[in-house]
């Protein structure tokens, strides 16, 4: 078993007791709530005559179904309107803060937590969404839960869990030009598989991780679950603290920042910590990476050939054959040149200000290909406002992108933003499952924001390094 890792320390600090099942009862420091997975939990609570136990440790927003175009109420989609109304009803008078669209703070739950400073090191954070692992970028222990567990947290402020193993993933070296955090995590999942992390929490470390800003760390932790790991984290450091100092929580309260800092320092992984497993990846060898199939583990570097299913481990062959048929790709080819119809820049993985800046810097002076429908969906209202203040919206619009309101949007196609028919999408999101983006014949190629920008311009999957003036921000 691991010892002395951040995971061990945060787990211990939050353990209430050992349950008769052998699970530990963990106190939840921050419970994030959205409209899709919470209504049934609030319903169960009411059925049992219970109240929200720790409303001040709970924060709600709306992201999954919210329209990214016309947001006049009632929403044109009745189902979306009823979910929104249900959430409003559930939080009203409960003491739960609600970042609703009128507040100017609405956004994807994994974007607003970090930007408001709700997300802090050494916390336990849960949400009814598997990408809650995002918050691990701050050195929090953060994971997705199901609706019955949401009921648990609402009613008791706790979750029942078993402690997992810890795998350190050390990414060494410096990233090459045009290579981003997204490429690191796609590479990791490609190497370790979509179930390689089951039973593990991932600690991301090494020079390439330390060099990343918070946005990049969030992109990596976000996709831990795509590798089967329910949680992933990065130890807090000066980069983390600089971000925190600019958030609502601390910008006007330096004393509180100084008061909490020793706690944050104390939960960092010890130098002599023991791990259950260690994996080392050469960051300098990573190239812009994309998916060729229908799981986030079916990845290849942009110059690498798509594998022959017969060369894969036996258990992966059938999935690979089906994926290649769905995507209409051939072993031996590279993904470079794969025609795309849609470019989607958004999602909890990659819709933060830095992502938009990088993509905009590339797009400036270029035009979206005539055959491509391209859209930018900022991660939150604050991201949108900040981007507009810098003129990024104009850059995107002039290039031919649609500039939309914040939400999950085409990552999972629960609102009007969906693929149609067999459209192929260059997407900065996190899942390329069949049907994920709203059309069961749709085809998704996952990649970094800057690669999405390049694909939008050329109309095909493109090695951004081969385009002129690769921008770095």
């Amino acid at each position: 078993m691991s010892e002395g890792t951040l995971y061990d320390k945060v787990w211990d600090r939050h353990t209430v007791t050992r349950l008769p099942t052998g699970q530990d009862q963990l106190f939840v420091g921050l419970h994030l709530v959205h409209e899709v997975t919470s209504p049934q939990a609030f319903g169960m609570l009411k059925e049992r005559g219970q109240e929200v136990a720790f409303p001040e440790r709970t924060h709600a927003t709306v992201d999954h179904i919210v329209p990214t175009g016309n947001r006049d109420r009632p929403y044109r989609d009745d189902a979306a309107e009823s979910m929104m109304a249900e959430l409003e009803e559930n939080v009203r008078g409960s003491g739960i803060d609600f970042s609703d669209p009128d507040s100017g703070n609405q956004g994807i739950v994994h974007v607003i937590g970090p930007e408001q400073g709700l997300t802090q090191p050494g916390m336990t954070i849960v949400c009814g969404d598997s990408h809650t692992s995002t918050h691990g970028a701050f050195g929090a222990l953060a994971f997705g839960i199901g609706t019955s567990q949401i009921r648990d947290v609402l009613a008791t402020g706790c979750v029942a869990m078993e402690k997992q193993k810890v795998r350190k993933i050390e990414v060494t070296g410096e990233l090459g030009e045009g290579v981003t955090a997204k490429d690191i995590i796609l590479t990791i999942i490609g190497k370790l598989g979509t179930d390689g992390g089951v039973g593990y929490v991932y600690e991301y470390a090494g020079e390439a991780i330390e060099d990343l800003g918070m946005e990049g760390r969030m992109s990596i932790c976000n996709m831990s679950i795509e590798g089967g790991a329910r949680a992933g984290y990065v130890n807090p450091d000066e980069t983390t603290y600089e971000w925190l100092q600019e958030t609502d929580a601390f910008e006007n309260d330096p004393e509180e920042f100084e008061r909490l800092k020793p706690y944050w320092e104390s939960i960092r992984t010890d130098d002599d910590a023991e791990y259950d497993d260690v994996v080392t990846i050469d960051g300098s060898a990573i190239e812009p990476t994309v998916t060729w199939g229908t799981t986030p583990g079916q990845t290849a570097g942009i110059t690498e050939p798509i594998p022959d299913p017969d060369d894969l481990p036996e258990e992966d062959r059938d999935t690979a054959r089906r994926a290649q048929k769905h995507m209409r790709v051939e072993p031996g080819d590279t993904m470079e040149g794969y025609d795309i119809d849609v470019a989607f820049l958004g999602s909890c993985t990659n819709a933060r200000l830095k992502d938009l800046r990088e993509a905009a810097a590339f797009v400036e002076g270029r035009e979206v290909d005539d055959d491509v429908r391209a859209m930018v969906v900022p991660g939150s209202q604050r991201v949108r406002d900040a981007a507009e203040a810098e003129g990024l919206d104009e850059v995107f619009k002039q290039a031919g992108f649609d500039w939309r309101e914040p939400g999950c949007s085409m990552c999972l196609g629960m609102n009007d933003d969906q693929l149609e028919g067999d459209e192929a999408s260059a997407s900065s999101s996190n899942r390329n499952f069949v049907g994920r983006q709203g059309s069961k014949d749709g085809r998704t190629v996952l990649m970094s924001p800057i690669m999405v920008a390049a694909a939008a311009v050329t109309g095909k999957v493109t090695d951004v390094r081969e385009m002129e003036e690769v921008a770095t921000v």
Binding site: T21, G22, P39, E56, M83, G128, G146, S148, D195, G435
Partner: protein, 218 residues
């Protein structure tokens, strides 16, 4: 605002020591939650009626014609033991996935391996996720296909699966087995009993202000 007292809401969990019934095989590794229930069917505020949408896009084409899928086949109507392969339920945390399967009629899922959140969500519903070796699972899938009316018995406590003359050594994760067999899988009730200790833990955390914790005066 002080936190309210945890009220004594109770919904005692039933003991789930065994599940018996006919089987239904759904083959393939990495069957994700978007396949089990596409996101568009999650625009609901209750889980009622989700059963009919299980594997919807695998079962129907664009014109709503039935495609080949076990969940469409007459011979498996009434089956309650789902037999799957590796990494079943990967992807999102949506409890809608096991809810849909349960409401379709599934009482237990047997497979080579499960994604963690999916297995946890099943447990919260009292649905065991039982694992066995690849060869044993494939043999069971073949058997169920050939004998759709034959009974499959899962003994959760003894960790075995019995069909025909065959007994498979299976595995039910320790905590899950204990929770099901002893009927302590309703974690809300279980954890609600420890209110004092919860508040003590919360108070010990430097980032939790006292006024978020104290429920004493409530």
């Amino acid at each position: 605002m002080s936190s309210p007292e945890f009220s004594a809401g109770e919904a005692p969990a039933e003991k789930v020591t065994e599940v018996s019934g006919t089987g239904i095989p759904v083959r393939g590794n990495d069957i994700d939650t978007d396949q089990i229930i596409p996101a568009r069917f999650m625009k609901v505020v209750t889980f009622d009626g989700l059963g009919q949408f299980s594997f919807f896009d695998q079962r129907f084409d664009d014109d709503d014609n039935e495609k080949d899928h076990p969940f469409n086949e007459e011979q498996y109507r009434g089956a309650n033991v789902l037999v799957v392969n590796a990494n079943f339920g990967c992807g999102s945390s949506r409890e809608h996935a096991p809810q849909a399967l349960m409401r379709w009629g599934i009482d237990a899922v047997v497979g080579e391996s499960f994604a963690e959140i999916f297995a946890g969500n099943c447990l919260a519903l009292g649905v065991p996720t039982v694992t066995a070796d690849q060869d044993d699972i494939e043999a069971l899938q073949d058997y169920v296909e050939a004998n759709p009316d034959a009974e499959v018995d899962i003994d959760v406590a003894a960790e075995t699966i019995t069909y025909g003359d065959t007994v498979i050594d299976a595995e039910v994760h320790d905590a899950q087995r204990k929770a099901l067999v002893e009927g302590v899988w309703d974690t809300t009730a279980l954890m609600g009993a420890n209110e004092g200790a919860v508040r003590e833990t919360a108070r010990s955390l430097p980032y939790v202000p006292d006024e978020h914790v104290s429920g004493d005066e409530a």
